[in-house]
Amino acid sequence: MVTASMPTVERENYLNKHYGVGSWLFTTDHKRIALLYLLSITFFFFIGGFFALLIRLELLTPAGDLVQADTYNKLFTMHGMVMVFFFLVPSIPAVLGNFLVPLMIGAKDLAFPKINLLSWYLYIIGGVMMLHCMLTGGVDTGWTFYVPFSTAFSNTKVVEAGLAIFVVGFSSILTGLNFVVTIHRMRAPGMTWSRLPLFIWAHYATSIIQLLGTPVIAITLVLVAAERALHLGIFDPKLGGDPLLFQHLFWFYSHPAVYIMILPSMGIVSEIIACFSRKRIFGYSFVAFSSIAIAVFGFLVWAHHMFVAGISVYAALVFSLLSYLVAVPSAVKVFNWTATMYKGSIHYDAPMLYAFGFLGLFTVGGLTGLFLAALGIDVHVTDTYFIVAHFHYIMVGGAVMGYLGGMHFWWPKISGRLYPEGWAKLAALIVFIGFNLTFFPQFILGYIGMPRRYYQYPPEFQVLNVLSTAGATILGVGYLLPMAYFLWSMRYGKPAPDNPWNAAGLEWKTASPPPTFNFDEEPVVTWEAYNYDELNRLPVKQETPVAR
C-alpha cells in the first residue's frame, strides 16, 4: 500500500531476493558465491597481512628481539601459505571471475552451480584446517615445503598444513573446471570467441593452469606427508629418495601458479584501460593470445627456480632460454595497454589509477624477472631479498593492484552502490607509494647480499630494512582504506546506475545489482568487444536496456 505509492521501488536483485543465513550458505547463485569468497579471502588477506606486519617489525633491528627465531620462521611460512593459497590464487578468479564470467558472456550462471558452491565449501574446509594448524602451533618449513627439512627435520605441523593446501587445491581445480566448461558451452548467441572480453580470455587461460597444475602440487604434498608420516623413501636421500625431485614437482605447479595470480589481473587491466580510454583495446587478438601463450609457456620454465639447486648446466640453459620466451607475451601486453591510451579520451577515475599503478609495478616486476632469468646473475641474487622484491612486485604490485582496480570498477555492479571517489583515489595513491617504499629497497638489499628468511642480519643491512618497514605501514593503511569505504558505501553510498562508467560489456547492460538470473531476457550479441566507438557516439544513458 505504502510502498506502491512510492515513486521508486527497489528492483528485485540477487541481494534482496532472499534473506537469511540459509539463503547464503545454500545458494548456487554465482554472484552470491562470489560474495562468500570475497568475505573469506578478505579474512585470510588480513591474517596474512598481520603476519607480514610482524615480520617487518622484527626486521626493524638487526638483532632478533621481537619474537623467537622459531616464531619468526613460522610467521614467514604462514604469511606465504596464507597469501598464496588462501588469498592470491583464489582472489580474482573466485571473487570477480565468479561474479563476472557468466555476466560477461551472457549466461544465467556457471555451468555447474552446485560444484561452484562445493568449491567454496572446500575452500572453507581447507581454511579451517589451516587456521587450526596455525592456532595449534603452526608450521615452519617456508611455503615451499623444501625436503628433507619438511619431511625429516621440522618439528611443526607440516602434514596438517599440507593437507589444508591439498583440500583448498580442489577448490581451485573445481573453479577452473567450471570456468572452462562455462566459457565453452554457455556463451550467449552471437558471443563468439573473438567477441569475448579479454577478462574472459585471461580467465580461460588461468583455468587451464588450475586444471593441469594443481593436481601436481596435491600429489606432491601427499608424497611429503607420506614420507614424513610413513617414512616412505621418496625425497630424503637417507631413505633413498631425491630432494631435487621434490623441487621439480613443487615448481611444476608453483611457477604456473604465479600466472594463476597475474593473468586474471591482466584481464582486469585490459577492461579498465579500454573503458577509461574510451577505446577498443589495441591489438585485441594479440592480447588475447598472449594470455594463452603465457599459460602454455608457463608450464615449461619451472626449473628456473633451481639454477643453484644442483641441476646440470645444460638443464639450466634450457630453462633460462624458455624463461625469456615467456617474457615476450608479457611485454606484448604492456605495450598494447600503453598503445590503447594513444589518441584515447582518458578519464582518471579510481579504477584507472589502479590500472596505472599496475602498469608501473608490473613493469618493474617483469623487468626484474629478466635479471633472475639471466643465469649468471641468478646465482648471486636467488634466495636473497632481490627475489622477495621481484615476486612481490608481480604478485602484490601486479595481482593485488589489478584486484583492487577490479573491485573499484565492478563494485557498483556488485553492490549497487557508489563508493566515495575521492577516498578511492587517495587509497590508490597510498598503496602505490607504500608499496614502492616497502619493496624497492629490497632489490638493493638483495643485491648487496641479504639472504631471505633471515630472522637476524648483519648491521649494514639495517637502513634499507627500516625503509621497507616504514613503507609496509603505509601500505597497510592503503589496504585498510578500501575495506572501510566499501563497507561504508553498502549503507551510505549513492545507488549505482546500471552502467556508471558508460562501459562496454554485457555485465553493464543488466541492472546494478543484477537480478538472480543475470538478465531479464537472454542477450544476443551483435557487436564486437570494446565497441567504445559506438558507445561514445550515443548520449550517456543511466539505464541502458538489455541488449537484444
Binding site: 623444501y146 637417507k238 633460462s320 613493469t363 646465482v379
Partner: protein
C-alpha cells in the same frame, strides 16, 4: 650511522666483475624500458585526457607494431640470455688445478676441511689469487653456500656432492651466508671467508695441521679393510682404484660413468647402484658406518691415487703449491 650503508656489495672475486657488468647492462636496459613505458603512459594520459567534445579515435591495432615490439625485445632477451649463460658457465666450471676444500654443512654450522688437513668451523681461510674449489655436502637439510662478495652461491645437498669455486682478488673478511632456509638458526648459520696475502696464508697453513686429508683417508681406508678387495693390482674382488679418478668406467649393465667425487661417494654408500663391468655386487654398504668427514677423506684418498687426475700437482705445473705437492707426496708411501 649512514657510513655503514652500502648500496653495492664488495667485489672480491674474479667472477664478481663479470656478474656486475651484466647486472649494470640489465639495469640500463630495464631502466630504459621503464622510462619508455613511463614516458608514454604519462604523455598519453596528459595529452589525450578527456576533453568535452573530443572523442577517442578508433584504432584497431597494428600487426607491424606488434611484430616490432615482440621481435626487438626477443632480440634483447637473447643477448641477455647468452651473456648470462657465459657468466654461468664460468661460475659452474672450476679450473682443473684448483685447491680443494671439503665443506660439510649441518644445522647450523659450516665445517671446512682443507686438502692439506686444516679444519675450520664457520671460517674459511684462503689465499688471494688462487682458485679454490669447494666440494660440498650436507649432513641434514639443504643448505646453500653463499658469499655475496664473490657473487657465488651453490645449494649444499645431503647425499651428494655439489661444487662451487672462486678466485679471491682482494684480501679481507667476507660474509659466508647460508642462503637456503634450513630451520631455527638459519640466519645464525653465518661464517666468514678470510682472504689472505699468500705469505700470510702460508704462515697460517703451517700451523695446526694433523696431516693431509688424503693421508687421513688412507688411514680410514686401511681401518675399514677396503684394501682387502680394492688391491693395487688387478687381482682383487673389487676394482683397482689406482688411477681411477676422472676415468670413464664401464658398468655391468652396459652404462658408462665418469669416476668423479659423486661416483666414489655413491659407490661407498650404495655399492650396488653402479657395479663395474666384470665384478660382482658383493661390496657391503658403508652407509651409517662412515661419517661425512671420513667420506670426504676417502674421496680425497681415492683421488690422490690417480696420477692422471686433473688436479695433479705435477701436471698443474707452476700454479702448484708446496702444500699441495706434499699432499700429493703422501700417496707414494
Amino acid at each position: 650511522m649512514f657510513d655503514n650503508f652500502p648500496l653495492w656489495p664488495q667485489r672480491a672475486s674474479t667472477i664478481a666483475g663479470n656478474v656486475d657488468a651484466l647486472y649494470i647492462f640489465l639495469l640500463i636496459v630495464s631502466g630504459l624500458m621503464t622510462l619508455l613505458i613511463f614516458v608514454c603512459v604519462v604523455f598519453f594520459a596528459a595529452k589525450f585526457r578527456h576533453r568535452p567534445g573530443v572523442q577517442a579515435e578508433p584504432i584497431e591495432g597494428s600487426t607491424p607494431l606488434e611484430l616490432t615490439w615482440s621481435i626487438i625485445p626477443m632480440g634483447v632477451f637473447l643477448v641477455i640470455f647468452f651473456w648470462g649463460a657465459v657468466v654461468y658457465f664460468q661460475e659452474r666450471t672450476p679450473p682443473h688445478d684448483a685447491t680443494e676444500v671439503y665443506v660439510v654443512a649441518k644445522q647450523w654450522m659450516w665445517k671446512l676441511e682443507h686438502a692439506e688437513g686444516q679444519r675450520e668451523i664457520n671460517e674459511l681461510h684462503v689465499p688471494v689469487g688462487r682458485d679454490v674449489k669447494m666440494i660440498m655436502t650436507s649432513q641434514d637439510a639443504i643448505h646453500s653456500f653463499y658469499v655475496p662478495a664473490f657473487r657465488i652461491k651453490q645449494d649444499v645437498l645431503p647425499g651428494r656432492y655439489t661444487v662451487a669455486w672462486f678466485r679471491a682478488t682482494k684480501p679481507g673478511t667476507y660474509h659466508l651466508f647460508c642462503a637456503e632456509y634450513c630451520g631455527t638458526q638459519h640466519s645464525g648459520m653465518i661464517g666468514s671467508v678470510v682472504v689472505m696475502e699468500p705469505a700470510q696464508y702460508e704462515a697460517w697453513m703451517s700451523g695446526g695441521s694433523t696431516g693431509s686429508l688424503s693421508a687421513g683417508g688412507e688411514k680410514v681406508f686401511a681401518e675399514l679393510g677396503c684394501a682387502t678387495c680394492h688391491r693395487p693390482d688387478a687381482q682383487g674382488r673389487g676394482p683397482n682404484l689406482q688411477g681411477l679418478f676422472g676415468k670413464t668406467v664401464q658398468l655391468e649393465d652396459g652404462r658408462t660413468v665418469t669416476a668423479d667425487e659423486n661416483y666414489i661417494r655413491e659407490s661407498i654408500l650404495d655399492p650396488g647402484a653402479k657395479v663395474v663391468k666384470g665384478f660382482k655386487p658383493v661390496m657391503p654398504t658403508f652407509q651409517g658406518i662412515v661419517s661425512e668427514e671420513q667420506l670426504n677423506a676417502l674421496v680425497a684418498y681415492v683421488k690422490s691415487l690417480s696420477s692422471a687426475r686433473p688436479g695433479n700437482a705435477m701436471a698443474a705445473g707452476s700454479t702448484s703449491t708446496p702444500a699441495k705437492a706434499s699432499a700429493q707426496g703422501s700417496q707414494v708411501q
